[in-house]
């Protein structure tokens, strides 16, 4: 059972309070009517399914109720960072350090 840090509750809590909600940072097209079939396919179905660091959404369903984002390694299952829904995906070493702090706390 994973332990997940909720960026809103600022606590590391058991997975049982959370629901996984798929790959993160997939923006809904602004003009749906102008989308080609291929673009719709990419939006709806194509996923990175990466073997490594994966940006994904979780919802703290049985807690604060909020959706948030997480960067997690899909080989080790370890969280590198969790962050609020509006924030961009962490990149670079500075973010890496910050996320490690979060893991330690």
């Amino acid at each position: 059972m994973l332990l997940i840090h909720c960026p809103y509750c600022k606590e590391k809590l058991p997975e049982l309070e959370f629901e996984y909600a798929g790959q993160a940072h997939i923006a809904r097209p602004l003009n749906p009517a102008e989308q080609s079939d291929a673009e719709w396919r990419d939006y709806l179905f194509i996923r990175s399914n990466v073997r490594g660091d994966h940006a994904e959404q979780w919802r703290h369903t049985h807690g604060c109720g909020r959706y948030f984002n997480a960067l997690r390694n899909t080989v080790s299952d370890k969280f590198i960072a969790t962050y609020e829904i509006e924030q961009p995906r962490p990149t670079g070493s500075e973010e890496g350090e910050k996320s490690n702090e979060q893991l330690e706390s």
Binding site: L2, N49, E56, T74, D77
Partner: protein, 417 residues
């Protein structure tokens, strides 16, 4: 390669097994093949076998990063059935059941296909209506499937608790007699032996680093841990690892890889005659020919390649099994393990050509690929050999996620499948 039979076994016994030969030779990787299949599971080995047997293509290699059958082929709960809802699926899975019957004789290797019947329990009104719809659809497609009352289900499977006051009351069941199980290792070994006998090279412990493409876009070969290998055609049949391999060819897929767990109990004398599945309580169970209760759980909620699942899911599955079969509560679990399953948005496989010339794809079987092994391998070999899909796998294209012609089997998929 000598033929297996009772006579050869007796001869071996009398001569102290002095002349035991390996079941298949350990092949050296050549510099060029007509076809390379990535992934030495049942589907990949089977495709190699049918390429050689039915299409005369024998300059074939099957390459795996690990050992033969070490992925989902050796990790699944070996359930075979074909009672899927839609016409396309019914044809595909029933083609497999037809081939399962007779596979031992075809391969000269006993895969222990056991048509003991698969029962799917209905616990609520929705289940009843859904299963009855499946039964009617199956019959129209010539797939056997019958409705059982709780009493009839209990008669077939005595450990079942059909008390109306049970936590998960049994309101009936759909039953496919032609469904059952097979011995998963034997399937991989049998195909490997039969394919190798026809000249196929089986290369283990050789990770594929990338699929290489020429200036025209067509595949040229594979970069592997043992160097570059030329190939006119490359067929990827790598289950949970498919996205990663296909990404090197620039093909992104509608797949997500999830952990799936299963477990077995200590062996007990025969007590459980069928395969029983329950979508609602999230569990399925059968008894192996060795006596172990083989129990399938669901997928964990998050994508992962860790082959390591969580405890809550296992607890949930076992709690459900103990509710439905209360006599099993004192039986200890012997071991549990995890696999990586590649799941498509419509819970149906992708089986056919890709936008890249010479690159073929067999993936997206989710938690239910084992049952389809011979059928899938058979039509995949056809697709590779003819560069055209077999009519049976024609609907299972990658393009369907663009055209919208999905084959949504989420309801027929028991736990996920």
């Amino acid at each position: 390669m000598s033929k297996f039979s009772a006579v050869s076994l007796l001869k071996g016994a009398l001569t102290g097994y002095k002349n035991v030969e390996p079941q298949w030779p350990d092949a050296e990787l050549k510099s060029e093949y007509d076809v390379i299949i990535v992934g030495a599971g049942g589907h990949g080995l089977g495709a190699a076998y049918y390429l050689a047997k039915e299409h005369g293509i024998t300059n074939v290699a099957v390459i795996d990063k690990g050992w033969l059958g070490g992925g989902n082929t050796g990790r699944n709960t070996t359930i075979i059935r074909s009672n899927y809802l839609y016409d396309e699926s019914a044809r595909l899975y029933d083609h497999a059941v037809d081939l399962w019957d007779g596979l031992s004789q075809d391969l000269n290797y006993n895969v222990m296909f056991s048509q003991r019947g698969v029962m799917m329990l209905a616990h609520n009104v929705h289940d009843v209506q859904s299963f009855k719809r499946h039964i009617h659809a199956n019959r129209l497609n010539g797939v056997d499937n019958v409705w059982l009352t709780p009493e009839q289900a209990k008669e077939k499977c005595p450990p079942l608790n059909i008390s109306p006051s049970a936590r998960y009351p049994v309101m009936g069941a759909a039953f496919q007699q032609r469904g059952g199980t097979a011995r998963h290792d034997a399937v991989a070994w049998g195909y490997a032996r039969a394919a190798a006998a026809r000249g196929v090279d089986i290369i283990q412990n050789c990770p594929v680093l990338s699929i290489e493409r020429g200036p025209e876009g067509a595949v040229t070969g594979l970069q592997t841990a043992r160097g570059f290998v030329k190939a006119k055609k490359i067929a990827v049949s790598a289950a949970g690892g498919t996205s990663v391999v296909m990404d090197t060819a620039g093909v992104r897929l509608p797949l997500e890889s999830y952990p799936l767990q299963a477990l077995v109990s200590e062996p007990v004398k025969p007590i459980f005659p069928q395969v029983v599945m329950s979508n609602t309580v999230h569990a399925y169970i059968s008894q192996s020919d060795k006596g172990e209760l083989v129990i399938g759980s669901g997928t964990d909620q998050y994508v992962s390649y860790s082959q390591r699942g969580g405890l809550p899911l296992i607890e949930h599955t076992l709690a459900a099994i103990c509710e439905v079969f209360p006599i099993f509560r004192r039986i200890r679990m012997l071991r549990k393990w995890g696999g990586v399953v590649d799941v498509t948005p419509d819970r149906s496989p992708i089986l056919g050509k890709t936008p890249v010339q010479g690159l073929y794809l067999n993936c997206g079987w989710g938690t239910g690929g084992f049952k389809a092994t011979p059928g899938s391998a058979h039509v995949f070999a056809h697709t590779i050999a003819q560069d055209e899909p077999h009519p049976i796998n024609a609907p299972f294209t990658l393009e369907r996620f663009e055209t919208g012609r999905l084959i949504d089997e989420a309801a027929a998929a028991a736990v996920a499948h």
